[in-house]
Amino acid sequence: MNRNLLHSDPQIATRQRWMGVLARAGTGLMTYEAALKEAEYSLIRAPEIGMTLVRGRMGGTGSPFNLGEMSVTRCVVRLIDGSTGYSYVAGRDKQHAELAALADAHLQGPEQQHWLSLMIEPLAADQQRQQAAKAAETATTQVEFFTLVRGED
């Protein structure tokens, strides 16, 4: 992941990282459902599906243009100990959004290290493996273009 996208405050950068891992986790979070739902919690904002506008920059540096809209699901939960967890995930999976918000709430609590090592590290490693596998698979299809020197003066 591009380091420049992370916040300069290390505390915020850490949270950014786990938010990203949780958002990409998809069905991988289901493994932790029982652990996440162990503590009592309430829904501040029940999972809801909406649209968001994706904008891009040509070549990463040009002026922004509207790429298109994508569906996102968001959720906010409050644990019994008062910590509030947020989630924004791509797609329409309400369960994923709820689990990601729960995970965010737990990760802000006193047992942050426990949750990091239990959930975030394995998920991040998994995602890195998948990304590497995909990159390797794509690399085999790479085509090198070159032009033969034509015999012209």
Partner: protein, 203 residues
């Protein structure tokens, strides 16, 4: 990290965001269509010192395009945090900029500077959301106008100052529309309703 500081104040809003917002909006429409008749409005819970009906009106009406002016007694961290979280409405300090104003009984005595629309766009006036302790028990006034057959007697516990101010700010089609909320009920008072004050009644 303002979100983290505010998050302790957050509480759940409507149970079913779509259905509850529609039902509340419907009640508000009925309240305006039949001025003076109390309509039920019980889809939200109380929020701090906001009654369920007042909070339901806020949740149904406010969004990112509706600047809100808060009376001092409602300008609390809990109310600010929840309204900006659930409605996303900007809270403004200047009355002129507000499309909605959240007032208590004392605040209803001073309606100066709220936008009462223009001749061309009378719909852009400020709508007053006024929370009272109860919707009855005040001086009985007779209301007349669209939505009322003959006259309707309404006893809102408001001071005469409110009625003077309302009359002063009214120049149809310009004027101020108001909702009075208490507990789980709401009464609407559109600008088109003519309130017969006691002096006129005698005449």
């Amino acid at each position: 990290m303002s979100a983290a500081n505010n998050s302790q104040w957050l509480q759940a809003a409507f149970n079913d965001p779509v259905l509850d917002a529609q039902t509340s909006f419907r009640s508000a429409l009925k309240a305006l269509a039949e001025p003076g008749l109390a309509q039920p409005l019980n889809r939200a819970l109380a929020l701090g010192n906001l009654h369920p009906a007042t909070y339901a009106l806020c949740l149904a009406f406010l969004d990112g395009d509706t600047p809100l002016w808060l009376a001092p007694c409602f300008d609390t961290p809990a109310i600010r945090a929840n309204l900006s979280f659930h409605c996303g409405c900007p809270v403004v300090a200047e009355r002129e900029e507000a499309l909605f104003a959240l007032l208590d009984e004392a605040g209803a005595d001073d309606l100066s500077a709220f936008d009462n629309g223009s001749e061309r766009y009378p719909d852009q006036s400020c709508t007053l959301l006024i929370q009272l302790d109860t919707l009855t028990g005040g001086e009985q006034l007779r209301w007349r106008g669209p939505g009322i057959k003959d006259v309707r007697a309404v006893e809102l516990p408001l001071r005469p100052r409110f009625w003077q101010q309302r009359q002063a700010r009214s120049a149809f089609p310009r004027g101020l529309d108001a909702f009075f909320a208490a507990g789980e009920q709401v009464i609407g008072l559109p600008r088109s309703t003519h309130v017969l004050l006691n002096a006129e009644e005698a005449a």
